[in-house]
Symmetry: C2
Subunit: 110 residues, 2 copies
Amino acid sequence: MANHDGANEVFLALADPTRREVIRSLGSGPASVGELAQPFAITLPSFMKHIRTLEDSGLIRTSKSGRVRTCTLNHDRLAIVGDWLKEQRRVWDQRTDRLEALVNDQEETR
Amino acid sequence: MANHDGANEVFLALADPTRREVIRSLGSGPASVGELAQPFAITLPSFMKHIRTLEDSGLIRTSKSGRVRTCTLNHDRLAIVGDWLKEQRRVWDQRTDRLEALVNDQEETR
């Protein structure tokens, strides 16, 4: 099955608490890798791996100015998750509608 | 960083198009493994791996009756994704509020 929209990479990027926390932090605005790394008790190379995974998924963009790499959240990319959930809810609602119609039919024919 | 709520497993389970499609199918109601596997051009053992990953994540429950294993969606578990998105939106809204307040302050002092 195809992965047209990059949903695989986005969900995979979010399957880690450090990366989810980075996304959460960036919700408050752009930040440097140094600032983002601060709360985590891991080495900078390990942290950079997480940053690269997030960048590869498209969830964040990074840009370097001098020695500072700044990360910015890409809201559009996170919409992939929201859209998928919305589609899932649509499927449930259709099911609920069908079940309701079935119950109403049974009541009418009683 | 801890993973108290099983979010890692849920996001990881969703990082695959076959597994997302199974979740989507189960949105219409419980189904047997055989029914669920039908649209996919993969072997049953490969498909069973996906089912087990989904079961381990708590997104689905399975039960066996005779030779038929039936899968049921666990809506509550999918709420982990929705709750995380909601929390993320709360962080953004706070930022937007701060930016708006800043703009208003600047206009007032102009």
